[in-house]
Amino acid sequence: MTAALSTKACPTLTRPAGAPVYLDYQATTPCDPRVVETMLPWFTEKFGNPHSRNHRYGWEAEEAVEKAREQIAELIGADAKEIIFTSGATESNNLALKGVAHFYREKKNHIITVVTEHKCVLDTCRHLEQEGFKVTYLPVQANGLIDMSELEAAITDQTAIVSVMTVNNEIGVIQPVAEIGALCRKRGVFFHTDCAQAVGKVPLDVNAMNIDLMSISAHKLYGPKGIGALYVRRRPRVRLVPMINGGGQERGMRSGTLATPLCVGFGEACAIAKAEMASESERLMGLRNRLLGGLRQRLPEIYVNGDLDSRVPGNLNISFAFVEGEGLMMGVKDLAVSSGSACTSASLEPSYVLRALGLDAEMAHTSLRFGLGRFTTGEDIDFAIDHIVQAVEHLRSMSPLWDMHLEGIDIKSIEWAEH
């Protein structure tokens, strides 16, 4: 078995020479070397099928998978039997929404979600609308949080499930999940939450928060890509129609042979998160404050998108007024960051999450997302500040909008020819 956690300090990761500083931890995280180490034997000598009941290869794999299930459950205050392994949060979100909607469709046909949810929730809801379900998409306030009274008003006797993400992937804001859970329980509605960005980052307890279904992704918390989980409450029981049929694994909700190494890595990642979350959050909060403070000190006209208090420590989303986001990303080529601007995708629309906050399209076009994580150092942050300040100043010096701003011209007063 693996060495006890306490004997292994958090490792550092060395960046290859010339590689950009990684500040995109909401996109994915590197596997923690301690995680990789626990996975390795399960690829080679311990390769058994965890569902083989007839020999030692199967038994030891099953034991490893069940230990991982317990590690995951412990992190969210669940019972191991309530953890269903999936391929990732996208599958978990699909299974939660389609599974519940289809199982209860004779009695209820209404789903409530939020406009700032991840695409995989929104797209699943659109799909269910085509099947005849009714979906309410709640708006958010300017800080990115939902208004509880709007949720309360949206719930009807027809509502089967409410799906609200705990932490938003673009702006990092934390929704009031405990309040949402309490409301849903009171009204007899299932509460699903996409916790891909939350597990291992903020304390979660499915019982205290009245969460009925929770989607988890391993690669957002320093585990391997290709695995996730759906927490499905047993009491009061939540029932699902499975999307994948087969040998009846995972209590019949998700057939298919489990990937033992991925399960083991996922479990280890959760165990590390449980042990280190508090200290890691504190450290990341320090780094985030350093980044924001450094930028604010040297650059005027920058704005944080989303609530700064109800937010995970590892996220900052900033609009740099009068500088277009993609142009800025090109200027900070020694940083790996994401832009809320259109031009990174095939569409020309800026981020729908930023638009939902009521941000003007022109401000949404000027945003960058910074994701800080376990292997981010103070030097990384200082380097980032210098690099960003330099790029923003350079681009503002060639921005006609910056000139207008300096001349006191309100760019909204100009009649632009939209193209």
Partner: protein, 126 residues
Amino acid sequence: MAYSDKVIDHYEHPRNVGALDKDDGSVGTGLVGAPACGDVMKLQIKVSPEGIIEDAKFKTFGCGSAIASSSLVTEWVKGKTLDEAASIKNTDIAQELALPPVKIHCSVLAEDAIKAAIADYKKKSG
């Protein structure tokens, strides 16, 4: 998205960034695009009494392709007559910079900027 070497070169070493006096009768100013769309180009030309563009400056809010397109056209219009400059096509710009399909609008905007600057000059000089 991977940019072509020419786009990167113009982005990192933009030609003719700056401004000319917009109240000068020999200067034409074109301002095209919209902040909400993520691109705004300001192109200015200074025209000699013989009708030759003797200087050009730009400022652009936009992605790397938008900056490169405007930088490139300031180089191209210099030394040209107004008619020659007006005949520059967006397809020439897109081809020179090897712009991918999603960036064609940047070259369209640069062509519009030239035409707008020329129109402004003509309006001023009557």
